[in-house]
Amino acid sequence: MDIKKWLLAGVFSLFAVAAAAQEMREVKIDEVEVNARRKLSEVGVTRTSLDSAVLRDNVTSSMADLLAQNTTIFIKSYGRGSMASASFRGTAPSHTQVLWNGMKLNSPMLGMVDFSMIPSYFIDGVDICPGASSVNVSGGGLGGAIALSTRPPEEPGWGLRFIQGYGSFDTWDEFLRVDYAGERFQSTTRFSYTVSENDFPYIDYQDPTLEGTYPRKRNRNGRYRDLHAMQEIYWQTRKGDRFGAAVWFVSSKRGIPMLNIDQRESGRARNEQTESTLRAVASWNRVRSNAKFGAKAGWIYTNSIYTFEGDNGNEALMEMQHAQSIVKSGFAEADASWFPNEKWMIEGSLSAQLHSAYNRERYTKTHYDKMRAELSLLAQAKYRPWERLGIGADVRWESYGRHVCAPVPAGFVEVILWPRYNLLLKASVTRNLRFPTLNDLYFQPGGNPDLKSEKGYTWDGGIEWSVRKRWFDFSADFTAYNSHIRDWILWLPTARGFWTPVNVNKVHSYGVELRGKLALRFGKGWTLDLNANWSWTPSINYGDKKSWSDESIGKQLPYIPRYSSNVVGRLGWRGFSFVYKYVYYSERFTTTSNDTDVITRLGSYYMSDIILEKLFRFGFGDLSVKFCVYNLYDEAYVSVLSRPMPGRNYGVALSIAPRWGSKNHRSE
């Protein structure tokens, strides 16, 4: 039924949009803007950029919510205030490479990024680069890469914005941003502080009492406190040099909520994770008429501690597990681009990372302490022999420790079919790899120093088009992809009771992604923006059977939905805006054999949120009031097995942006 519904919806929506466009074309054809020429660096590349309007709408959300609601990336969220990982096209979270201002954020120990720890308020640009398009962004993106960036303020003078939020479950959010933009110097200071008891109530339908009633429980041990502070400075010289520096400090303390089937008393067992992270990156860029040069250097320090405290039988809690990880990473990169003429672009970059990782469990005394250097060299060329044809090639060489990996090639092509409607065909192909993380190799117990890199081969092809008129803006794209990953690293138990990673799985993922954006500007101040994504994501294990009873071959990978979609609609009128957000995932299996019994299958996921906002403009500045309803239909659900989620809940946010002098911004 799900598929039929979605097909129907898709077909009707396309017809509706096409009909609307047709009607407009009949009367407004002279207003079509031609904008077929793309940047040479974008030739054949599939890149989705979240625009500033999307980021503005989500300033009080985490990056996990932003991606789930606006892209085809699958976010696996362990609950409110808990870890959220991102997967492209049916791959693993460690196959998603994440960069911040050009510096890789993936933990060298775990290989992945927790997107619940990245507030949208701290990000000004998000570029999503799936498959081969990730090769010129980062190595190791078997699924893809997400490039997060901050940018200097554009409006001259001082700017300030403060947001105070309050939400259900005693949740307080404070956001502050102070900008200064001069002719050559810009500065941005950001601060956010979030604290929540996160003790939401829920009905536990799968843990009835002896009397057969369904108890109303509360989320236990879910309290969290996140502090973020960031300082950026930018300086441009008269000669065209641009310098930038950003420092981002994170301090987090999060309870790990108890599972809903945990029968221990509240407060008698407690898991907690604390993290302190400092990230710093400095950059230099020089732009010339036919060349660009740049260099970056960065540093990341992370100290995270996981503790488990339990009842010692005498009322007091006793610490029983204490695992500490300290990671220090240094980073340096240099890049250069050359545009010998309008048809050619040649680019190269060299980056190096040095990681130091220390991990120790206080009571078992297991530990490891390792250093690893990683090098990455990229060369790329883009060529547009004719106005309507562009081709490109990338080659990336990587090494880690003493291992030199095979070159990673990528090829790109695009053909502009109909410039008037920016209709273009594009395709890309790559053979990529991802080397093992430090935990994969050295974690005690279980690390496997003999692991090989995961290898992937992927191609994608698609079509995109856009129509822009004075009051109508429509763009859409369709992409099909096919990917094979072998030597997929999987942690499996050993005879000694611990788990160890091995290169076992072969995975074939393929599918289709559809994206559409529509912006309508009606008369009398009415506006309507729609952003929709739909994807079909089979991700099939076709590795060797572990034993002759193995039922996992030919089955969908656990937790990867076959279908997913999201829609965000925004209706605006004279300072009012009404936003509807909708996210859908089809059923997910939690076993490799895709069992459908009552305790292992997760049913389809439908989530709706609404936001009503009013902007008031005063002489002294702008004031906006936002009211949000999350889980509009008060669904009882789990997104990950045994992790309860909150029912309908609310949030209000008050935003103040004073206006100084002639400055008139931050009023969006």
Binding site: K5, W6, L8, A9, F12, S13, F15, A16, A19, Y205, Q206, D207, P208, L210, L259, D262, Q263, R264, E265, A269, F308, D311, N312, G313, M318, M320, Y363, T364, K365, T366, P445, L492, P493, A495, R496, G497, K546, S547, W548, D550, E551, S552, V567, Y580, E587, T590, T592, D595, I599, G603, S604, Y605, Y606, Y633, E635, A636, Y637, V638, L641, S642
Partner: protein, 361 residues
């Protein structure tokens, strides 16, 4: 159809989808019952997934019913079901990471009650109708419970001032003493005086004793995994130990090759033969003085076998294969001669077995 009507239709279709409900709610309850002799298979499930389950296998009819606890009671069993014991018409399922022991009727699988207040329970050992011990992975105590009242009555401290916290595991009884192996980063067999409910001493064996049994000669057998490479304890060959509980001394040691580990020690009904997993399944007469030359069952798969049990009545052998640990496991049933009799699927990570005679015992 005009664009206007298509727009209306699209809105209607979208509205239908946007108001769809999630498929999550009560587990439909069923009536399932057992008859005759049976075997409970305790399926751990994955740590922090909460997908543990209980399977029931009718030994005579060779039929299996999976997820019986959830299907009968409309309730999830919990996170990491570790072990089960049946006594006096009640089944006690120890659910480690849910901190609970569920008490069920072993014939109808109906949930009767629960024992809470436990931290990380592992195994239950009955001393009499009103007293049982429960071991724990993290707690510095062994809990004493009243099975009828389903409550904790006492806690026995088992920690040593200058040692790391012992993780107590399986239990066997000799005379008035209970012997329990401390597996996790430890090398001891603790001895508990059941009359005084106190720690009475310990015996040091090899690194990480994984399981313990007592034979017909009143000798205790322990198998160790020997630790692992780079372990803070070090690594040594795993071994099989025979201990005299009266003298509290190791009588004989059967060392494995370096890197080989042993687990899942159990006995047949007469307790004159021990069985264990050391890559293959081995059987050995309790009076043997040398390690057997050939395994009872050879493992020619890439997998490590996860569970083992021997029918106390028929001496048939049940072997658990967890496959990739994230799918339904498989149980193989062999005759005492090692001939495959049956194969059936159960829940995720089948780790422990519990025989029931069909008369409540």
């Amino acid at each position: 159809m005009s664009g206007k009507w298509l727009n209306v239709l699209a809105v209607v279709v979208w509205a239908t989808i946007l108001t769809a409900c999630m498929d999550y709610g009560p587990i439909e309850r069923e009536s399932i019952s057992s008859s005759g002799r049976g075997l409970f298979i305790v399926c751990e499930g994955n740590f922090m997934y909460g997908n543990a389950s209980l399977s029931y296998y009718d030994i005579d009819s060779m039929k299996v019913q999976n997820t019986v606890f959830a299907r009968v009671n409309g309730k999830r069993l919990g996170d990491v079901a570790q072990s089960m014991a049946v006594r006096d018409g009640r089944g006690y399922i120890v659910v480690n990471n849910s901190g609970v022991i569920y008490v069920i009727d072993p014939e109808t699988f109906e949930w009767i009650g629960e024992i809470k207040g436990l931290l990380s329970p592992r195994y239950i050992h009955f001393l009499d109708d009103r007293k049982a011990y429960v071991t724990d992975l993290y707690s510095p105590y062994i809990s004493v419970i009243d099975p009828l009242e389903m409550r904790i009555t006492k806690r026995i401290p088992v920690g040593f001032a200058d040692k790391t916290q012992p993780s107590t595991e399986q239990m066997v009884q000799w005379d008035k003493y209970v012997f329990t192996n401390c597996w996790s980063y430890d090398d001891k067999i603790l001895i508990i005086d059941t009359e005084r409910d106190t720690l009475d001493g310990y015996i040091e064996v090899g690194m990480q004793p994984t399981s313990i049994v007592i034979d017909c000669n009143e000798k205790i057998w322990v198998v160790t995994d020997g630790g692992y490479e780079n372990s803070p304890m070090g690594q040594e060959p795993g071994a099989l130990y025979r201990i005299d509980p009266a003298t509290r001394r190791i009588e004989q040691t059967f060392p494995f090759a370096f890197g080989e580990s042993g687990s899942e020690l159990c006995t047949n009904g007469r307790r004159d033969t021990i069985f264990f997993i050391q890559k293959h399944v081995w059987s050995m007469n309790v009076n043997a003085t040398e390690f057997p030359q050939q395994p009872f069952l050879e493992n020619d798969t890439k997998n490590y076998w996860y569970g083992l049990a021997v029918d106390p009545k028929t001496s048939e052998v049940y072997l658990a294969d967890a496959i990739d640990y994230t799918q339904s496991g498989v149980i193989y049933r062999y005759s005492p001669k090692g001939v495959l009799l049956d194969r059936f699927e159960v829940g995720i990570i089948p780790g422990a077995f519990c025989f029931t005679e069909g008369d409540g015992h």
